[in-house]
């Protein structure tokens, strides 16, 4: 299980990174934390001519508050989302999801940007970008562009990132005192990809839930916004009837894959249970 030979480049700017990609005629892969890419290379599922290491690009580093928006550099490690005070304060949903991402040593190396760019439909962070309404800052040869999370995840492992483009940072609307959130997932073992998982970010006005954003993962080829369920709870207090209505509405939001290990009908069931648990958690969240 050894990767096919490749050349290695470590550009120190985005311009150099784009040049390296062009220089390889596009037969190149970008690597940041590499926690998903390296196994794929070892198994020869991918075999680029050139591996372009993004770790030395300054614009991709750091977490800072830009007014109402938290800018999370794509190279931010999973482990930093657990400890970084700005993330804990302004993207609490990300911090809540972080302990569920794989295992400690993977979190020490894996990056938020890498996870979002890979867009594994069973991963926590891509779905949380949806729940948080993040915007993706993407660099291409022609400059930067921004893509909203709702438009970012297109199909299985397919995002709005075009070949040669680089996810530079994630812009998350900073959560304020009115925001409440909840995260949960159901996995067979700690750190496994979840059978079903999800997160909610909302505002609370007294007992009433406002502007809820619910995102689930492991329920289809991409992370999924549960818009029908959101509509059931928006502007309401989370009583048992509301929660039940949201659970019923969820069925129309998701289209889970059917496989022998976890049949689609089971995922639908789990998603309903999960939503109920998330909403009850949200309700008790202060």
């Amino acid at each position: 299980m050894k990767a096919r030979a490749f050349a290695y480049a470590r550009p120190s700017s985005l311009a150099e990174a784009h040049a390296a990609f062009a220089g390889a005629d596009g037969d190149a892969s970008f690597i940041s934390g590499g926690q998903s890419l390296v196994p794929a290379l070892a198994m020869r599922l991918q075999a680029p001519q050139v591996l372009i290491d993004l770790s030395a690009i300054p614009e991709m580093r750091g977490v800072r508050l830009d007014g109402e928006t938290l800018r999370i550099g794509a190279l931010t490690r999973h482990a930093e989302t657990l400890t970084e005070p700005l993330i804990r304060a302004h993207a609490p949903l990300l911090a809540a999801a972080a302990p569920f991402v794989a295992h400690p040593a993977i979190r020490n190396r894996g990056t938020v940007g890498g996870s979002v760019a890979l867009a594994d439909p069973a991963s926590e962070f891509p779905a949380m970008m949806l729940a948080m309404g993040a915007e993706m800052e993407i660099s291409g040869v022609d400059g930067m562009r921004r893509v909203a999370a709702d438009d970012f995840f297109q199909d299985l492992y397919q995002t709005a990132i075009e070949p040669g483009e680089i996810l530079v940072a994630l812009h998350v609307p900073a959560a304020g005192p009115r925001h409440v959130c909840a995260f949960d997932e159901m996995a067979r073992r700690r750190g496994d990809y979840a059978m079903v998982g999800g997160g909610i970010l909302a505002e609370r006005d007294g007992a009433v839930i406002v502007n809820p954003r619910i995102a689930l993962f492991s329920v289809g080829p991409t992370p999924v916004r549960a818009r029908n369920a959101e509509a059931e709870i928006a502007g309401k207090a989370l009583d048992a009837d509301t929660i039940a209505a949201a659970q019923r509405a969820l069925d129309a939001d998701i289209d889970p894959l059917d496989d022998a290990e976890i049949p689609a009908a089971m995922r639908r069931h789990l998603a309903r249970v999960l939503l109920g648990r998330l909403l009850r958690k949200l309700e008790t969240c202060s």
Binding site: M1, K2, A3, R4, A5, F6, A7, Y8, A9, R10, P11, S12, E16, A20, G23, I31, G34, Q35, V38, P39, L41, A42, M43, V50, L51, D53, S55, A79, A102, H103, P104, A105, I106, N108, R109, R189, R190, G191
Partner: protein, 165 residues
């Protein structure tokens, strides 16, 4: 920046010593340590980050050396079990693992020690659930984990608990 096929120069610090070698970019840090530097305490169990046998400290934090290419560690500092043993950093854990028989075949042990060392270095005495979480990615086929949890708990108490120096 540097882009070329074949081998590339690599310099890094391994167990406190400067190391300079030519290395093929596809060589993982695990294979580099084991083959080029003969530091075979770092074990390879799955080559996909699922077993934890290959954990080393990279700039002070545990990472899977099978999920890092050696070239990515350019200029960084790597500590392996050999180095941690030589410096005495692992002595309390070594003793606790031995006394509690927290290993059988020993193949998972280096990875367990690296994670346990990082956990204890946080400075508190973790509870058993925290210990289990810290080693949640470390596969052991032999022990059933309880003895390992016991040993880490004992070493943590000794290092950070009441009466610790």
């Amino acid at each position: 920046m540097n882009m070329m096929a074949g081998t590339v120069p690599l310099s890094l610090t391994v167990n406190g010593e400067e190391v300079a070698r030519m290395v093929a970019p596809r060589t993982t840090l695990a294979d580099f340590l084991r083959t080029d530097l003969e530091l075979t305490a770092t074990h390879v169990g799955c080559e996909m980050g699922a077993c934890g046998a290959c954990l080393v400290l990279l700039d002070g934090v545990p990472v899977h050396s099978c999920l890092v290419f050696a070239v990515q560690a350019q200029g960084q500092s790597v500590e392996t079990v050999e180095g941690l043993v030589a410096s005495g950093a692992l002595a309390p854990l070594q003793q606790a693992f031995h006394e509690r028989n927290a290993l059988q075949c020993g193949f998972c042990t280096p990875g367990m020690l690296v994670n346990a060392h990082a956990l204890i270095a946080r400075g508190s005495v973790p509870d058993r659930e925290e210990i289990r979480d810290a080693i949640s990615g470390n596969y052991c086929r032999c022990t059933g984990y309880e003895a390992i949890v016991d040993a880490i708990e004992a070493a943590a108490r000794k290092a950070n608990g009441e009466g610790a120096e």
